[in-house]
Structures are given as structure tokens and as C-alpha cells.
Point group: C2
């Protein structure tokens, strides 16, 4: 019905429309629906502006139009600030008229139960039938500070002066774009644009950000995420941004169960466990900030530490005029696992030669040398050329407040050094912070935001390119709306979708993927004499059935069977046990009893939000209690597998702990990689090996559950 627009056109209509209608514009600038016109005029938006209000001739002193149809042209962008149901009608009318993009303020959709679901369906139908693209609903707007298109009802944009910067911000929360803007302004952090993506019924956060990737005036991205939604588009955006060298820093709500629960009621979105979101963001090369100020203040640092320069072991050197003040930043850095490196003997010697005679310690503490320009400058010259450091953190004490020339100016004068410098000023020192910002030195107002941003910057990895991730075969022109519908459907189907295969079939499938499995033999469960076994006694005998997910609980497992007579008896006993639980089995599985240094659980599943995932965990009760597991998006490579092993704290017991022999962690890593490669087999929904026995040489699966689509 409606020719589709190119991404470049869509971007222009969204962010720099030459004509803009505001449906539902109120005459009361104090009301939410009264704000957009006020802010647009205040900012000096130069496009043609059409306030639409059928009840009035004028709004805020301007001519008001009765309807979209009555306008002298089809506007490039329509901001709908009317109530819920009239809003849907307005989008439908806009679509019919050939409008290409609408931003929708109203709520009452994804978060509003069955009635809301009906509205979502209606909106999606309008989009599909007319080709109009929608931002929202529940969007507080789209803002471009270059074009002065302040298409927003967010009260924080009632701002006299809004200088444009080079960051683009996207947020699930509408209020937060006001927080990012205003807090950023106070810190000299400026934005090219900001978008409140709302419920993403049509255009997703990832898609909208992708539209800005060709913008040469955008250097980096700040994301405020409430949920993991439309992850395919987000990942595609992130990977492309990484290819363009544009860093992304995200704050993701939901570390706590309480916050995840709220995300569901507040946004109508699904909420996964936090370590899944963490694994997803890491795989996308998106840095994650834990603190709000870390998000706002962190991007300049990410830009100074390109992801390509990051190795697995980055070391921070710290120089300070205040030992106590510096330690307030070192403490949270160390808690985040960041290495604070002491200066090398050679660096100490160079410092001494420059008159800076300090004690060997993890900190270059200039307190005793005196707070002087020449001392700090000489120290920075030496530290920024010392090979043991990848980043220098400079912490300045009380002098920063009134005497920035002493210890802050030398940082400014070292801004072009070969190594990135971050600065944290211990006192309240707005002038000195502004001086640092002007010089492009990443600077922080709290030790926690400083540590948070440094950790976020140093922990990121180059994401794997789009071409090599599962699902990339899917045509990229797929509508993301339908992609999202797929995800919803998969989620609603739940974890019990698909069908279990029996343990023997599971081993066959796993062996094909290169996983070492214990030798297995299926026997008729009603044998009267034991056959010769291809392996030695003692053995374990297990009920073989796809019905019995928890065969131990049903008495379906007998260990340490030492001879043929006991084997026959075990078969009989298992048949009786599982029959008592209402199951009839015809076969049992026999395996040798394998001993090892320890046991782990490795699992694969297709997660409804983020797709294929691989997990390593300590099996049993301690995983449940200590949440001791490591996750990655699948497939994972050998380096990632080794990282995962290092992240599971309990696996320290397999490294030759307390005199025990060490387990074969290389074989474990290979098994993790092999299991993660199930991502290449679309039939497999889930596969869990619990336990995988880790031996001094090799590993072996001794139980497996596999679920196919």
C-alpha cells in the first residue's frame, strides 16, 4: 500500500524531519501533552510544525489543525501524544495518509494485559498494512540536538541551552533520557540525540540505533536497558558499531530479583536472570556499567581504550597525591577483579631519577614528594611510557579544589600521552573537572563511578562478527516485529517444549558432536542372565526411558554392581521401582563406574531471550546455593571455555587443590566447546550433561538429558 523507505530516509524522518505533526498537542504547556510544541519552539526547530487539536483553533498561540488529513502536506514524522485508543486511531490514519514514522507516547499496550495485547496486535497490523514505522508506545520521544527536533514530552528538555554532543542515547525508560541529558550537561557530556524506545512494538532499540550508525557525528552509544528484548537487532547493531569503532556502554537493570520482577510489571517485558543478560552484553561487545554515573561519565574512557587494544590481562597504574583518596577508587576496582599493577623496578628507578623517591607499593603515592606541577607531570610522563601499565588512573586530593594548576593541569598536559589516563578528583572540584572534560580526559566524580567505568572499559571484548553467529543465515530483511513474535511464542511454549530423547540416543548425539561419553550398553530390562559386557565391573545400571526425567528419584539408578548376578537383580529391582512410580520400562542402560578428580555440570540451551547459551557449573547443591556458574552465548571458543572454567569458583577444586591431583581442564574446555557447538544444530533445544566426570586425563559424560525441537 505504501512504498517502504530506505534506512537513510527513515533516519532523516525520525531525527531530522522537515515536517512534524503533533497529534493531541494540548494548549496547556504544564501538561505532558502540552510540552512537545513548547520544547520544539524553545529549541528553535526549523521544520514545518503542525499541532493537531480538533477541539481548538490555536494551541500555545499557534494555529491548531483539526486532523492529520487536514494538513497541507503529509508530515515526515508524527508525534502522537493523545490518549491510548485515539492514539491507535491516529497511527492508523497516519499510515493511511502515507506518513512514514510515528512516535507514540500513550501507554496501555504490552504492560496492560489482554486489552493491551489487542492494541499491540492492532498497531502491528497497521504497521504491516501501511508500512508506517512506530517508535513506542510509551515513548517519551525522539530527540536530535543537531536538528533541534525535540520530539519529546520529557520535562527535562525544558532547557534553555542544549549544546549538541557526539553521543547517541537510547533508553527503555522514558524518564531516563531526561536524566542522561541533564546529568550529562552538568558533566560536559553532550548528546547528538536521545530516544525513548518505549515498548518497541515495532521499531526496536537495536534498529533505531542501527539507523544512526552512518552518522559521522556520532562517536558512541549510551544505553539504558530495562529488559533483554529484541536481542537479535540489538546484537546486530552492537556488532556493527564495534566494526565501526563506536563503543557502546549500557546500564542494565535487573541485578536483583526484585528489579527483574518490576521490569515485568512495569514494561510487560520478559525478564531473564542477570548473568544471562551479562553474557549476552559481553558477547555483543557492549560494556556494562553498574552505576548510573558510570554510565554517564564512562564513554570518554571507552573511546580512549579501543576494544582492539584490550587483552585478557590489562593492568591499571595508579598515581595520586592522596593515598586514602586513591584507595577509595582502588577498592571498588579490585572488587571488580581489575589488576592494579605496582610500578616495576625500572619505573621506580626512573621515578627516583626524576626526584620522586617512593616506596615500592601498588600505588605511586606522591604525598611525601609534595603536590606540585613538576612532580605530577614527571610522574605521568614516566607512567604513561611504562610498559607494565595499560591505563593510568590519576587521583588528585584537596588541591584540585582551588589549585588545579598543581596536580590537575599536568593531567591535562598529558592528555595526548600514549596511554589513556582517567582522573578522579577527591574533593568537590567542578572547575578542575570541567578543565579535564575540555581537554578530553575521562574524569569521574565518585570513586565508584570511576572504578565502574574503568572495569567496564577494560572487560569488553571484540564481539564475534555477525556472519559467524547462529541465526545469521536468517535473512536480515526479516521484520523484527515478527522476530519478536517468534521469541514471545517460544517463551510461552516454555522450557518443556520439544521432546526428550533417551539417554542412549543422547550419548549418540553428543558423541557425534565430539563429546566424550562413558561406554554404554542397552540391555533388555527383563534379562535372566547377564551377557558379557564390553567393559569391566563394577557398573551402574539405569532405567532407559524418555518418560523418566528424574530417574534417581524413581529408584531407576543402581550403583556399584559388581557381577552378573547382581546385574540381573538390579534390572529386576529397577523395573519394580519405576513401576511403583507408574512407569514401565523395557530397557536399562549399563555403564562402567567411572571415578575422577571431580564432577561438573555442563549445559546447553536455546534461551528464549538471548538464543543459544552454554553453561558450566558445579553440580549439585552448591550450584543452587552459591549460584556458581558461568555462561556464554553459544558457540564458544576454546579461550572462552577456559575463561568460563576460571569463573566457576568451585572448579578451583580441580586445579590440584589441597594436594589432590589436577583434573584435565583442557579436556573439560574442549567438551564445553563441543557442547556449545550444538548451536549449529537447530534441532537441539537443550542438552545437559550432569555430571561430566573430570579425570586426570580426559572427561566423560555419565548422564545426559537432551531435548529436541
Amino acid at each position: 500500500m505504501n512504498r517502504s523507505v530506505s534506512p537513510a530516509e527513515l533516519a532523516q524522518f525520525l531525527f531530522a524531519p522537515r515536517s512534524l505533526a503533533i497529534v493531541g498537542q494540548s494548549n496547556d504547556a504544564g501538561k505532558t501533552a502540552g510540552r512537545p510544541l513548547k520544547y520544539l519552539r524553545q529549541a528553535g526547530y526549523a521544520g514545518r510544525l503542525y499541532p493537531i487539536n480538533p477541539a481548538r483553533d490555536t494551541v500555545l498561540g499557534e494555529r491548531a489543525w483539526p486532523s492529520l488529513a487536514a494538513l497541507p502536506e503529509v508530515p515526515e514524522h508524527v508525534y502522537v501524544v493523545a490518549p491510548t485508543d485515539p492514539s491507535v486511531e491516529a497511527v492508523a490514519e497516519a499510515g493511511r495518509l502515507g506518513v512514514k514514522v510515528a512516535t507514540l507516547l500513550a501507554d496501555g499496550f504490552a504492560e496492560a494485559g489482554p486489552q493491551g495485547d489487542t492494541r499491540v496486535t492492532k498497531l502491528r497490523t497497521i504497521c504491516a498494512e501501511t508500512g508506517i514505522r512506530v517508535v513506542g508506545p510509551s515513548s517519551l520521544g525522539v530527540v536530535d540536538l543537531r536538528s533541534k527536533a525535540l520530539i519529546t514530552a520529557n520535562a527535562a528538555f525544558d532547557e534553555a541551552e542544549l549544546p549538541a554532543g557526539r553521543i547517541f542515547a537510547a533508553s527503555h525508560s522514558g524518564s531516563m533520557i531526561g536524566a542522561l541529558l541533564s546529568r550529562g550537561k552538568a558533566r560536559g557530556i553532550g548528546f547528538a540525540g536521545l530516544v525513548s524506545v518505549g515498548n518497541e512494538v515495532d521499531l526496536s532499540l537495536g534498529e533505531i540505533c542501527t539507523l544512526t550508525l552512518d552518522d559521522p557525528d556520532i562517536d558512541g552509544y549510551m544505553l539504558f536497558l530495562e529488559t533483554m528484548r529484541n536481542t537479535a537487532a540489538l546484537r546486530r547493531f552492537a556488532i556493527t558499531a564495534a566494526e565501526r569503532g563506536k563503543p557502546i556502554l549500557a546500564y542494565k537493570l535487573g541485578r536483583s530479583a526484585a528489579a527483574r520482577e518490576l521490569a515485568v510489571t512495569h514494561t510487560g517485558a520478559l525478564a531473564g536472570e542477570d548473568d544471562i543478560a551479562e553474557a549476552f552484553l559481553a558477547a555483543c561487545g557492549i560494556a556494562r556499567a553498574d552505576t548510573l554515573d558510570g554510565l554517564i561519565e564512562g564513554l570518554p574512557l571507552l573511546q580512549r581504550v579501543p576494544v582492539a587494544n584490550i587483552t585478557r590481562r590489562m593492568a591499571v597504574g595508579v598515581v595520586t597525591t592522596t593515598g586514602g583518596g586513591a584507595t577509595t577508587a582502588i577498592d571498588p576496582l579490585a572488587m571488580r577483579g581489575i589488576t592494579i599493577a605496582p610500578p616495576s623496578t625500572e619505573t621506580l628507578a626512573r621515578l627516583k631519577a626524576a626526584g620522586i623517591d617512593i616506596k615500592p607499593a601498588r600505588l605511586v603515592d606522591l604525598t611525601l614528594t609534595g603536590t606540585r606541577y613538576d612532580v605530577m607531570k614527571a610522574a605521568l610522563d614516566i607512567l604513561t611510557t611504562a610498559p607494565e601499565f595499560d591505563l593510568i588512573l590519576c587521583v588528585v586530593g584537596s588541591s584540585a579544589r582551588f589549585y588545579p594548576e598543581l596536580a590537575v593541569r599536568p593531567i591535562v598536559d598529558s592528555a595526548g600521552a600514549g596511554k589513556p589516563i582517567a582522573a578522579y578528583l577527591v574533593p568537590e572540584a567542578p572547575q578542575a573537572l570541567a578543565m579535564l572534560s575540555r581537554a578530553g580526559v575521562p574524569n569521574f566524580r565518585t570513586p565508584e563511578a570511576c572504578a565502574d567505568a574503568i572495569a567496564a572499559a577494560l572487560r569488553r571484548r571484540t564481539p564475534v562478527p555477525v556472519s559467524s553467529w547462529p541465526g545469521s543465515s536468517r535473512p536480515t530483511t526479516t521484520s523484527l516485529s515478527s522476530e519478536q513474535q517468534d521469541v514471545d511464542a517460544r517463551h510461552k511454549a516454555g522450557h518443556d517444549a520439544g521432546r526428550l530423547i533417551d539417554e542412549l540416543e543422547a550419548y549418540e548425539l553428543l558423541k557425534k558432536h565430539g563429546l566424550p561419553c562413558a561406554p554404554s550398553l542397552a540391555l533388555d530390562a527383563s534379562i535372566a542372565t547377564a551377557p558379557a559386557l564390553p567393559f569391566a565391573y563394577p557398573v551402574v545400571v539405569k532405567a532407559l526411558s524418555t518418560e523418566l526425567a528424574h530417574k534417581s528419584d524413581a529408584g531407576g539408578v543402581m550403583l556399584n554392581i559388581t557381577d552378573g548376578v547382581a546385574l540381573v537383580a538390579a534390572c529386576q529391582r529397577i523395573r519394580e521401582n519405576v513401576a511403583a512410580h507408574g512407569h514401565n520400562i523395557t530397557r536399562v542402560l549399563v555403564q562402567p563406574m567411572l571415578a575422577g578428580v571431580g564432577e561438573v555440570l555442563i549445559g546447553y540451551r536455546v534461551h528464549p531471550d538471548v538464543g543459544p547459551l552454554i553453561m558450566v557449573a558445579m553440580g549439585g547443591v552448591f550450584t543452587e546455593i552459591y549460584r556458581d556458574r558461568s555462561l556464554r552465548l553459544a558457540p564458544a571458543d576454546l579461550a572462552a571455555a577456559h575463561e568460563m572454567i576460571a569463573e566457576v569458583r568451585g572448579l578451583a577444586t580441580l586445579k590440584g587443590f589441597r594436594g589432590k591431583p589436577a583434573g584435565d581442564l583442557d579436556a573439560l574446555a574442549r567438551a564445553i566447546v563441543a557442547l556449545s557447538r550444538l548451536a549449529e544444530d537447530p534441532r537441539v533445544l537443550e542438552a545437559e550433561i550432569n555430571p561430566l566426570i573430570v579425570q586426570t586425563e580426559g572427561v566423560a559424560a555419565v548422564d545426559a538429558v537432551v531435548r529436541l525441537a
Copy 2:
């Protein structure tokens, strides 16, 4: 030689001296030693001021005096800003002249190795011989903003306007008093005084704060702690402050091992593990902030939540105009274990009756109702009278920046409500924050500081009174310097001080203190026939010796001995095993094999920094890996013991986990209390029961190590 002064006199000399000499005052106000005179004059200090500089007639345009002896009077306070060794001489001279208190800037003492130790000894001798009291060394000064006694070299005090407030701050770090002052000023948080206590060679942080407890213009305390030092004085101060209703909020460095290591090199102090500091502060009723802004912004909240009102289960209600913004505060609150309570059905009904129709959720989200004064005020009126909440957190979105009348004013107008309200404003909103501060509403600039302060406020407990803690029999007039020397000596003696008693004696001692122990029988290790046992087989046989700390490692333990013949063989075998490790034993210990639901480790020790401690932990490898333990100062009461059990995550396995029977946690709690009461027995340095078997009814110690003084 010198009459000692009363605490009230000492306080006056310290904070409001009528005469003050500055030894080493430089003529260059840009130098550290040039600052004190400048800041004192700038602030309008009204006392008699004597700059001392033997090399000059004038400094900074004032008459300079050649020496303390040349002054026309004995000054009440001397600030020594000279280099290290001349400083010691100046203190000695001041002492001889009858000066009562000196503050000492120089470093080169506790942190400076053997040469520094010699200087420390010299200073202490001067104090002991002359009666002069010393703040420092390494003190950046003592500041009283009422008397304008800015006795400091901290550059942040070069401040035109320094209004006095009602908080007293004490810091191990000198730079941090400048940070607290300047950051506090920017937040409307004012100080009565601040002190940089330096190395506490004489006057300790706790003693200095104690001197201010009678000051009616001081309402609360802010502490910046780098180490746990002089803990007896700190605890005494804290308990007295609690009795006076003056809250204390502390920031303590050293959550990370890296920071603890730095504290040692930086301050020459000892550094214990962080959970020990945490237990100590909690026992003192000192709230602990994790973030620097939480420290600076948190005291007003502590004042609104008196410790006497705090129960074990405090619930926070959250009301907001921004769901996403509120969740940024809820996430860190929930991660700190704070309960965010949903409104009750009754409260929801009251809200609905007031026109606020919200979905039942953990958050009172007014987004859909609109950001209006009447809505927020009505919501606050209802929430502050709802019995399910102990504190209301109000999170205001973008409107706070330019329209504080909408949702911030109603908070101000509810400041006198029956329940404390805390406010976090999501955008940058300095005017609204100032409005809240003026109204006395605790307000926060970041969600993390907000959550941190709320958690710190709600987690504190009334400390046990001085009279009931061990060591209170010690006369309170004891010089704290010598107390500290005792601690140092104990620490240097290390954990191996004292003497082990054998396992049988250990059980005797523990049983006397009410701890259930497994029945035990000592036998001659060279028996040829087994005697009748007072308990049934199977039994365990163990080498009985005070020499063998790790008897299992030496083959000194044999389990599951089923009859007399095996018992005799086991005795023989154990003798041989331990002989092969170089030990000769004459006796073994025999105990029945006890089964239980699980095993725990409980331990008692006299810690060199904080005194008697009780610990509960999962035994074995998982304690080492997951650091899963809970600590309290000893003695602990039954309520504390139950809290400790709840804090050890692994003990979930004893609560009827996965169908297993539940262990007798009441008996475990009684055992913890009993072990903690060893604090009343000064002979015992350390006692560890590992494991204590937890049965379905009762508990029993099956191994014990006790070390006596």
C-alpha cells in the same frame, strides 16, 4: 611534671584554643607549611596566633616568633608543620613548656620502618613524661567551624565561606577531610568540626570523637576509616554516642585485598579481613556506607531513623513518577538485602479512593496517574501512614529538574510525616535537592548512594552497653597509648602465641562452657586388648597429642572401627603413622562415629585488632572457596547466633533442603552462644570445633582445638 587536663579542657584546647602557635609556618602560602596561617586569618580565627619561624621576622606579613619559648604565653594548642625530626623536637619543647596539646603534620613515623618506630617511641615518651597530648603525626589538622580554628594544611580549606553545621567528621586520611568538607558544602551538609587523626600515636580517633560527645551542637558523626586501630577507644566512643542518640556513619576502606595491602604500606597500620571490620562496626552500632556519597549524604537519614526504632525486618515502600528511575535505586537496595514491600490491599484501596488507581506491584508507580502535586501528596499521606512500611523512598523523574513544585514540593510538605522519607531525584536537579535539604528531607544524588545510605541506616543495631563487653573491667583511665602497645605486642606475637591443650582437655573445657561434645575415652596407645567401651561400635580412633595440630595429615585418625580387635590394630597403626611423621604418642582418643544432617565449623578467637570473635562457617573446601562464614564480636546472644546461621548460605542445607531432614538449628545457635562466652574466660585465646555435627536433635563437637594464653 605537668598537671593533666580534664576532657573538657582538652576539648577546648583542641577545637577552640584561645591561643595557637604554628611551628614551622612558612612565608609561602603556596606551600603546605604556609597554609595554616592563611586559612586561619581567612576564616577569622579570633584567638591569639603565634607563627613560629626562626629564620624570619615576619611570615605572610605578620610577626614571626623564633621559638615556642620566646612566646609571651604558653599557647593552648601548637600546630607543628615543620619537617619530621624538628617536629619531634618541637613537640618535646612544647611539652616541657607545659603546652597541653600539639597537632603534628609530619610523616615519617609508623609507616617509615625502624627509623619511624624510633620516632614513635620518642613521641610517646614525650607524651608520657610531659603530659602533652598529640594529634597525629601525619595529621592534616583539626578544624572547628564554630571557633574558626582552621588548624589545618588541607588545601580544600582555602574557602571563602564555611558555614558551620552539626556533624563532626574524623578521618584516618588527611585529604579526605577536604573531600568531606567540600562535597558536603555542595550538598548542604555542614560540619561543626573535622579532624585528620593521622597515625594516632597518642590521641586516637575514638578518643578525639569522645571529647566532642558533650557538645550540644554536634548531632552525628562521619568517619573515614582506613584501618581498624585503637578499637577499644572507638568502641567506647560509639557506644556512648549511641546512648546519646548521636548516629555514626563510617566508610571503611579495605573490602578488597589490594586496598588492605595499601592500608599497611600507606599508614603503617595493621589490616584485618573486611568481614572482621564489618562485625566490629556492627557491634559498635556504627552504620557502614559502601560508597563515598553514601557517607556524605547519609547522616540526615540516620538521624530520621533512630536506631531504637529499628527492628530485624524493616520494609521500604517506594513511590515514584518514573518506574525505570525508581528501579535504579531498588536494584542496589535489593542487592543489599533490603526488603522493598508492596503496598497492602488496604493501602491500594486507600490509594484508589484518593484517585490513584495503580496495579499491585512492589512499587507505587504514579507515572500513569500523572506528575501532579495533589497526586504525589495524597500518595505520601497514605504511604506514610501505612503500617507495612518503615521508610518511604520517593523517586522523582524529569519534572524535578524544572518543575519541583509538581513532585518535590509534596515531599517537602510531608517532611514532618510519621515515617522517614528519603528522596532520590533522577535528573540533575540542584534546586530541588537544595529545597529538600532545607526542609530536612534526606536526599541523594545517585541511586547507589541512596540505596547505600538506606541499607546502612536500616541495618544498624543498638550496640551492647560498655558495661557488658569483655575488657570493660579494665579501668577506663588506662592510657590508650599503652592499650595500643598491648595490641601491637599481641599482634606481633601472632596466631601461634599461647599453648595448645590436647583434645580431651579441650572437650573438658568446652563442656564446662555448655558445649555438647561427643563421648570420648582416652586409651593407652599401646594396649594389647581392647577394654569395654562406654559407647557402641563403630568408633573413631585419634592420636591424642598437643603436638599434632593436623593429625589427619599425619595418619593419626582412623574411622569406622567396628570391634575390639580392629581397635587394637588401629592404635598400633596410628602410633606407627605419627611416628613416621616424627611424633611419639602415648595415648589415643576413642569416640563413637556420630552421623548427622550436616557439619559446621564454629570457632572462637581473640583477634589482635578487634578482640574476641565468634565465627560460624561451612567446614571444608567450600568455606575456603566461597568465603561462606559469619562473624560477630563475642560474646553473642541467641538472636545474634540465629542471624549468623541465616548468613551462612551453605547452612541452607540444614534447613530440610531437598527432602533431607532438618538439622537442630536451635541447638546449633545455643552452641554458638556457648562458644562465644569463652570471651569471659581470659585464658582462652582460640577454640575451634571442626566439625560440629548437627543432628536432627542436638549437636555434638567431634573435633576441637583449644589454645590457651
